[in-house]
């Protein structure tokens, strides 16, 4: 189906997601896409085979986690942390960017900007 998505402000995200849970929707997944130098995170819900999408536009690196509402969001939010270098506040289990990537992997390989790991003990 062609994507149809409604924008939600970051501060209203948790309230909106809670509404989906209360109405019996299943969280299908979250998808992060680069958008105008920032990121668009799409949340896909499903009920009775009908899918609904909402999205937030994120320009800074801190995003509220919805894993407190939908526990199953923990894997996809960790994956987004790995690939895009974003940080989810309040993640149920936080792998800190190391769920799929290893110690030697590039940081945020799908990020809009190049992220460089700061070595311990090295001065700016």
């Amino acid at each position: 189906m062609m994507m149809d998505s409604k924008e939600v402000k970051v501060e209203n995200l948790l309230q909106q997601v809670q509404k989906y849970l209360d109405e019996g929707y299943r969280l299908v997944t979250e998808t992060c896409v680069k958008e105008n130098g920032g990121y668009k995170i799409i949340y896909t819900f499903e009920k009775d085979y009908i899918m609904e999408n909402i999205h937030i536009i994120v320009n800074d690196m801190e995003v509220p986690s919805i894993s407190g509402i939908y526990f199953c969001a923990l894997l996809v939010e960790n994956e987004i942390q790995d690939f895009f270098g974003l940080k989810f506040g309040g993640l149920a289990v936080d792998f800190k960017g190391r769920m799929l990537l290893g110690e030697e992997s590039p940081v945020g390989p799908l990020a809009s900007v190049e992220i460089v790991r700061k070595e311990k003990g090295v001065k700016e």
Partner: protein, 360 residues
């Protein structure tokens, strides 16, 4: 006084066909908490979308997972067909159903073997894989390969089946059904199998919904949800009702898969009998337009989700794949606490984990 400790399960373990690591916090023999670790076989296939054109990407997505390869290709092609406004020939839709259901049968038989092996039932393991070989032969004869059959193209399928091949499929599928009759009893009415599965790893309907479980894991918990009911490909022209069991335990999930093998046999028979004549693909011109599309298909392990964003060039701007095992791991994390350590392999196998799918 009970003893508490941490037991590492995997990434290499006799029952695991692929690497996943679970840190099990145990109190004596009882699992209290579980922490997963994945990332051992991550390949970064989604990133290849920036380097491979839309046709080359079919080969990439087919290699996300061998067992579900046909359905990965189908989901991807359906997404681009929708985006490009292509109406594929009816015969191509029916052929996709036949190959998809053959894949489901061989996937479920593969699972049955691994599941039997997880509690030491070697005979069941060998018998189910023996039957599976007949399916692999069907795939080889119809597509030229046993596992990654590469039949999907944007606009249809690349191979046809003549009448004699379709008759042979019906003959072979009846042979598979006959072979299965003995095997079915070994699973559904066997004391040992029931002892190891009934009442183990119970996932209630509410939990399954909250945890986003899909496929046989959700249907084993009473959720009547199977995307084939939405009628994609040619499923809309076939009689179909999702297989549902209500107990939510390991046994229910197993029963769902066994019943689904029979359902797939029925769908193949229906597809062969209703097979329309005509072309098997339409010609595709130009690049896909700018847009975003979602495509979902019911794989053997459950719903697979594709998000595709295009920029009007021959390359995709973004490809995102959410595979069924990725959706079922949170349910596994809730099933394991409270179980006996000896039941951990059985519980893991009842979600039919595919780690190469999960990690892409």
């Amino acid at each position: 006084m009970s003893k508490t400790g941490i037991i590492p399960f995997g990434p290499q373990h006799p029952v695991l066909p692929e690497p996943i690591h679970l840190k099990l916090v145990v109190e004596d023999e009882r699992v209290m908490e579980v922490y997963p670790a994945i990332g051992f076989v991550h390949r970064g296939l989604e990133m290849l979308a920036a380097k491979k054109d839309i046709n080359q990407m079919i080969y990439v997505v087919e290699r996300i997972c061998g067992i579900c390869s046909m359905m990965h290709g189908m989901t991807y092609c359906q997404a681009l067909e929708e985006l490009m406004g292509l109406d594929i020939p009816p015969r191509a839709k029916f052929l996709r159903v036949i190959w998809a259901e053959l894949h489901r049968i061989h996937s479920h038989l593969l699972w049955l073997g691994l599941f039997a092996d997880s509690f030491g039932f070697e005979n069941l393991f060998m018998q189910s894989w023996k039957i599976r070989e007949r399916i692999m032969d069907m795939l080889e004869r119809t597509a030229g390969n046993r596992v990654i059959i590469s039949v999907n193209i944007i606009g249809g399928v690349r191979r046809d089946m003549d009448d004699s091949t379709l008759r042979w499929i019906l003959q072979e599928i009846s042979g598979v059904e006959k072979d299965l009759s003995g095997l079915k009893d070994m699973v559904l009415n066997n004391y040992t199998v029931k002892k190891r599965t009934v009442g183990k790893g119970v996932l209630s309907k509410d939990e399954a919904l909250r945890l986003g479980a899909v496929g046989p894991v959700a249907r084993g918990s009473g959720i009547a949800r199977d995307l084939r009911a939405t009628g994609y490909a040619a499923y809309g022209e076939l009689d179909f009702e999702p297989v549902v069991e209500k107990e939510g335990d390991c046994f229910s999930r197993s029963v769902v898969r066994i019943r689904e093998i029979y359902q797939s046999i029925d769908l193949i028979r229906q597809a062969v009998s209703k097979m329309p004549s005509g072309e098997i693909s339409v010609k595709v011109k130009g690049n896909p337009p700018v847009g975003e599309v979602i495509s979902v298909v019911e794989q053997s392990r459950g719903e697979v989700f594709y998000y595709i964003k295009t920029s009007g060039t021959q390359y995709l701007e973004r490809l995102r794949v959410r595979t069924p095992t990725f959706a079922n791991i949170p349910a596994l994390l809730k099933m394991l606490p409270g179980c006996e350590l000896a039941d951990v392999p059985v519980l893991i196998l009842t979600i039919d984990p595919c780690i190469s799918c999960t990690e892409r």
